[in-house]
Amino acid sequence: MTMKPKAEKYRIRKPAATADLTSQAETAVSASPQTETGAEIPDKQRIVQGQTNQQQSVPNDPILDAIRQEGLNARQLRTARRVAEKHGLPFASDFEAVKVLRDRGIDPFQRNNLMDMVTTKQDGKISLPQKITPSQVPAEISKETDMSPAERRALEVSQIQKDLGRRRRRNIFFLTLRLIAFILLPTFIAGYYYAFGHHPCILLNRPSK
């Protein structure tokens, strides 16, 4: 868009500085789960706490450093901590939780599949999910649509045109049929009756010989 924006902009975050702070804060919060009163502590303090926590709890371990280098986000670290707690594993920091879980052969970031909760065994038989043949993409072009779009258009339009003509002819045919049946035929019958039939009024009006 080359138009000048007319609406005022509100609540626009300054991108660089605050984003950095918040990300730090996130890691800090995740690193210090013991502080119950985390919400009341101002951000800067929390950051300092988090950093010190990490520094204290994480000695120079190459594996932990490698995990730290992976660039896991706060959410993943929280998940790892939760999973480690669930399995009752000891850990001092989030990265250690990841390490401990991996040592146990548990992938901390694997999603629990809801479908796993459904028992697959019924009456001793393993019921497999219904097999669906995947649709072919792109679809095959059938013979009918093999023509160029312009040709097909011309064909379809001419078909509609012919159909219009056919309908009109049929309508005219039925109209003439109705005219014959309900107007011309009664007219001729009545005419014949009055002309050649023995109707009393005609007999009376006949000139006398």
């Binding site: 138009m3 779009p149 258009r153 339009v157 509609i160 159909d163 003509g165």
Partner: protein
Amino acid sequence: MGGVISKHSARENSRYIAKLYGLDPDYVEAFCRWVCGLQEYFDQPLATYSSGMRSRFTFSLLLALDFDMYLIDEGMPGSQDVEFNKKAGDLLAERLKTTTTIIVSHDPATLEKFAKKAAVLMSGQLHMFDSLEEAKQLYDYETQG
């Protein structure tokens, strides 16, 4: 696109307009029926149509008549119907190859699609340019500079 009478059906409107332009009414009707795909509603009065149906019909009528020059203002009829958009888009693209188009828009992408030359109307003066880029520069300078 106007020029249709809402009391009359699409069929009557299309045939009437075809007669005005000296075209074959059957062909125009068939063409409109095919493009807009209104089926049985084609014989209903235009007043009973929804705005989408109406715009489809008027657009198909526009395509049925072979003009030498198209004037397209910003408000191009936009339809949501996929099949209609495909049909109408193909037809319009075909037409635009052989016809002259004058299009008015604020959107550079639209202009790039249709136009080769552009002019900018600035404080009552029309500045004509041979290329779109030059016109865009002036337009951006005026609005954003």
